[in-house]
Symmetry: C2
């Protein structure tokens, strides 16, 4: 990606580890600037978006510049939205440094920021020109973040490839030990699955919605915990809760939720929301989910591991009676079934 100005965006965690090297390499190629934002979801705000835009304008970057997002999902989403809206769009290169960003956030062109009403409610589709993923940088990734990325890989197995799901379970220990070859294979297969789905439906008119498996519940959990619960960990809970609700509603094969809970457990991922989470608050938060239609939340539900359920009209998301979701949330909190459908 040739450009008259490279603007590297990174955060306070990743910057010290990698940004100087990347910035120096780009400076050798021409004008470059480095922009650091605080680490954490709170940086996905309108305020940071405006500040970053103004900093690029002050640095004199024109339409012939290029943004380089060096970091995890937060940096990618924020820098991506800046790139999407800077002078009506400038090229973007994603350099994901977390497993979550490598297998998920950096691929597919979704960018966005959070607003008081919810996460990612403002954003744009803006495909990166290039994604550079180097699994070696995962050696320094905190374990909790490694697990968060593995949750999305489990999702990829669930939605598209039962063998991949089984492989993740079988190789759980190697993955947690950061065996480079095993991690590289995982990144490769996850990107392959995601890119195939996105390639068939880039703007989420239909099938792409299956990538939101677990996410209706996950986003609500993140909101009610004030985004204290990391995205990947919320997805782990969401996958199990939505599968269990799908089972009781008759869309999902019995045993799918327990199977998911086992795989996630092998990776050290909890299938229960944080202690003290109020299920009614979670249900209320879902009512304004942007995947909803006419104010009713929609869910991308598995039919069975490796295969997604279809709506009667051919669509890829379904509504669920609130009772099924409430019961599944209760099961996740207490480990107890609420009714006969939850055997």
């Amino acid at each position: 990606v040739g450009a008259a100005h490279y603007a590297v965006v990174s955060d306070a965690h990743v910057g010290p580890l990698h940004a100087a090297r990347v910035h120096a390499a780009l400076t050798a190629a021409g004008p470059a600037s480095l922009h650091l934002v605080p680490a954490g979801e709170a940086s996905k705000s309108r305020t940071r978006w405006a500040e970053l835009t103004d900093a690029l304008l002050a640095a004199g970057m024109g339409r012939d510049g290029c943004l380089v997002a060096l970091g995890g999902g937060v940096v990618g989403d924020l820098a991506g939205f800046v790139a999407a809206t800077y002078m009506r769009g400038v090229p973007l290169v994603q350099v994901p440094t977390s497993l979550l960003a490598m297998v998920d956030a950096s691929v597919g062109g979704k960018t966005g920021i959070d607003v008081p009403a919810g996460k990612n409610l403002v954003g744009a589709f803006h495909q990166p020109r290039l994604v550079l993923a180097d699994p070696d940088v995962l050696a320094t990734l905190p374990l909790a973040e490694l697990r968060a990325g593995l949750a999305e890989a489990v999702k990829h197995g669930l939605i598209a490839d039962a063998d991949y799901l089984a492989g993740i379970e079988a190789e759980a220990d190697d993955l947690l030990a950061r065996n480079p070859a095993v991690l590289e294979r995982l990144v490769h297969r996850s990107v392959e699955i995601k890119a195939a789905v996105v390639g068939r439906d880039p703007l989420e008119a239909g099938e792409r919605a299956i990538l939101n498996a677990g996410h209706t519940v996950a986003h609500a959990l993140e909101r009610v915990t004030g985004y204290e619960l990391p995205h990947g960990l919320a997805v782990a809970v969401g996958l199990v809760v939505e599968a269990r609700a799908g089972e009781s509603a008759g869309h999902t094969a019995d045993g799918t939720a327990d199977r998911l809970a086992r795989v996630l457990g092998a990776l050290g991922l909890a299938a229960a929301p944080p202690a003290g989470t109020d299920p009614e608050a979670v249900l209320a938060a879902m009512a304004t989910d942007k995947k909803g239609r006419g104010g009713r939340p929609r869910y991308a539900l598995p039919e069975a591991p490796g295969r997604m359920a279809r709506a009667a009209d051919g669509g890829w998301t379904l509504p669920l009676d609130e009772a099924h979701v409430r019961s599944a949330l209760d099961h996740a909190r207490t480990g107890l079934s609420a009714g006969p459908a939850d055997v």
Copy 2:
């Protein structure tokens, strides 16, 4: 455009004239909401964009909603940018009520807001699903705004159709008298010219830049006047100044600037910047124009009426030595030539 929620965005001038009717018609079709912003360029701000977005979220509009921009260019640009970024994009219907918006702003998918560093520096390409232009509403348009729209029509003649330019001059009196048939023909031909250019180059990778004829100078004039000078009137000045600079630089046929000044004059449009405008401030403002490359402003210049000049590399914009632009600005201010090239 079928949608679960129609959100009509209008301003304090247009709203009282037309919004109630449009809103009532849409309410009959399903849930609808009406959102008014203050009239004027100042509404193209990050603050209004955020407020409008939050109002739509509060109104419960989902991804299956649709924005209806009812007004002039400001409403179209602002509502368009909200539509482009609301949940990563929702459909947009443009209902332009000014001549400027009918012949220019509502066609082609450019949306944007202003930031302290300049106009339209933040935005996105977001094509409307539908543009509904009713020339009858022009009966109530203030004369200055009618003229502002005619300036863009003159630009369309300049860049693509010398006969159209001649026709505008010949029918100037009918246009100013708002002869409905003559106005309708003008809207039709201008949209035809613009749509053809945009259709060949939707993302402004090349040829679309010719629609920026006059605009490098115009945007700078708007900035140095604190956006007191309306866009269309700034374009009128910009067309003449850029053509004259193009003549002295040898890109533009002699007489083009004077010809443009005559046509604009017949429409009651001044070819001179407002009294007291500092040419050096205009030149400084152009240095950060987003059409620039490597910090140097670019210009879409006529070769002659109806035909645009090409760069040596085939591109559609050219740089100009500052001396030519300074001299052309001086000519516009004083009516006097600064040097032998300006005979």
